[in-house]
């Protein structure tokens, strides 16, 4: 077991859902899927995005894709054209999640 970034073995993509950010993450093996299911709890993701996500976090599982999908509400400063943020659509939040370090 060593501390590694999720980016070393996982993939991610993100975009907006209103004022929320939709962050999907997936892996290539069953073992890694069990790992991210255990590590990426709603609380852990909310903590990781403490500087970005001001609302609640919901987690969905898609086993066929070995994927987890997170909805991070109130994360885009109003969302769409109402936001003043550089990343008003959460395009970079997938990469932000991949920066998390886990024991693997």
């Amino acid at each position: 077991m060593a501390k590694v970034k999720l980016s070393s073995f996982a993939f991610a993509r993100s975009g907006d859902k209103g004022d929320g950010s939709n962050v999907g993450i997936f892996v290539k093996t069953r073992a890694d899927y069990e790992l991210i299911k255990k590590v990426l709890t709603v609380d852990a993701v909310k903590r990781h995005f403490h500087g970005i996500c001001k609302g609640t976090v919901t987690r969905y599982e898609a086993e066929n894709m070995l994927a987890l999908n997170f909805l991070l509400r109130d994360s885009l400063g109003g969302g769409g054209s109402e936001s003043l943020k550089t990343d008003a659509q959460g395009k970079t939040h997938g990469l932000a999640l991949l920066e998390m370090e886990v024991e693997r």
Binding site: G15, G24, G51, Y60, N64, M65, N69, S81, E82
Partner: protein, 453 residues
């Protein structure tokens, strides 16, 4: 019935590269070319243009693109499906007919789908009890009724199929859903019905994968180091079969990458609940799909399950919601971050001296280069320079403009190393608010009209 239909997706959004559709037409076999030209904000801009000129209000980029490929499209019999009609499909129809006549193309059938634009019907709908409440927060639409800029229903794939059935080679819609541009041709080619939920779900899923163009062929892929030849990136082609299974691929010899990972990446994009992806024609269960690599740049999806659609259409309404502006300056090191922070304090302080203050949620300070996108996650560093980006929003246009005047003075009256002020003084612009709502399906009737050159 054909046992295989090739549907390319050449335009992922308004502003996507013109090379996408042009190369899909030129660089290999294709039966259909799907093109998305709309976004939430686009419709309000188009209504504004139409207000000034009754012949405007559609995506002129579509005409510019067609002018390059129409003879080839006509000769090869490629059918084009686009939501380029914006808020004025009939003007877009006229523009395509004009272009075809100019290029000497005879016998081209062009069809339009109307009925999505409900802007003028809002008072009548509200009066008859359709609340069009905001899906996000439940607010009543009557509160912003005098500020509405556009209102469009998301129309599904059966209207596209009907337009094709009437013989159109070019199908122009207004606010068609992005996946409908792909599912429509499948319904038409394979004779699927409104109760074929598994197949409709497959069409929806295929459309979802393709709807952002190159985002499923290696674009925006976190495994980007494996992607070859971004310059010549191939746009997606859905190789559809009558049983609902399909292959995601691209023209041979093009750049980019299609594998299980690039396809799953795009499936997750703005996905929401994977068990129940909502569309106007069905709900799709993304977790049911079998996803397998069957060759180089070929990923097959099968076994997709779907269910009935909801009794409502989604409606996209835009409205005026105040004013905003942002401005930026570059601040060099040493101590770039500290100096940028000081600059921001100076701006807010000077505005306050002049009686101009903003609430916390009305203003933003970003120090680009010091961890803006990954706020709270990126570790602090000492970059050689940063971009200070500041902005405000509120209902008072004069206050927003007043803010814009205090950015550039920092060059001579703040800390040293402030530069890079370009683009003039930031000016207040309209904030176009987005108002998602639901409307009972029986309130919407689509109409199809086909004309020939």
């Amino acid at each position: 019935m054909r046992d295989k239909v090739l549907i390319g997706y050449g335009q992922g959004f308004w502003g996507d590269s013109i090379l996408g559709p042009v190369r899909l037409v030129r660089e290999g076999p294709l039966d259909y070319l799907a093109l998305d030209y709309l976004a939430e904000v686009t419709m309000s801009i188009m209504q504004k243009l139409k207000g000034r000129n009754p012949k405007a209000g559609y995506a002129t980029d579509f005409i510019a693109m067609l002018s390059r490929v129409l003879p080839e499209v006509h000769r090869k019999g490629i059918k084009v499906i686009a939501n380029a009609g914006g808020v004025n499909p009939s003007a877009c129809l006229d523009a395509v007919l004009d272009l075809a006549k100019k290029q000497g193309i005879k016998g081209l059938k062009v069809g339009i789908i109307e009925g999505d634009d409900i802007l003028v019907r809002i008072p009548e709908l509200l009066q008859s009890g359709h609340m069009l409440a905001n899906m996000d927060d439940g607010r009543a639409l009557s509160g912003v009724q005098d500020r509405i800029l556009s209102a469009n229903v998301y129309i599904g794939a059966f209207a596209v199929a009907e337009c094709l059935r009437q013989g159109a080679q070019i199908v122009i819609g207004g606010r068609l859903t992005d996946p409908a541009l792909v599912a429509g041709p499948m319904i038409h080619e394979f004779g699927w019905g409104p109760q074929d939920f598994d197949k409709l779900a497959a069409g929806t899923m295929a459309g979802h994968i393709a709807e952002c163009g190159a985002q499923c062929t290696g674009g925006n892929f976190t495994g980007w180091r494996d992607v070859k030849d971004f310059v010549r990136i191939g746009y997606p082609i859905i190789e559809a079969s009558p049983d609902g299974s399909f292959v995601v691929t691209k023209h041979e010899g093009t750049g980019g990458l299609i594998n299980r990972e690039t396809v799953i990446s795009q499936l997750l994009y703005e996905m929401g609940d994977p068990n129940r992806y909502l569309g106007p024609d069905c709900t799709a269960d993304f977790t049911s799909a079998r996803i397998e690599e069957i060759g180089k740049d070929r990923v097959r999806l099968s076994a997709i399950k779907g269910g009935p659609a909801t009794p409502t259409y989604k409606v996209s309404i835009s409205y005026l919601n105040g004013f905003k502006t942002t401005g930026q300056l570059t601040v060099s090191g040493p101590d770039a971050v500290a100096k940028a922070r000081l600059c921001a304090e100076i701006v807010w302080g000077r505005l306050a001296l002049d009686g101009c203050t903003f609430e916390e949620h009305e203003k933003i300070v970003e120090i680009v280069g010091a961890g803006v996108c990954h706020e709270g996650i990126a570790k602090p560093t000492d970059p050689p320079e940063v971009v200070l980006r500041m902005g405000v929003k509120c209902n008072d246009e004069d206050k927003v403009d007043r803010f814009g005047m205090e950015i550039v003075p920092l060059v001579t009256s703040g800390p040293p190393g402030v530069t890079g002020f370009a683009g003039g003084r930031p000016k207040a612009t309209d904030i176009v608010g987005y108002w998602p709502a639901l409307l009972q399906k029986d309130q919407v009737k689509t109409r199809v009209r086909v004309e020939v050159t």
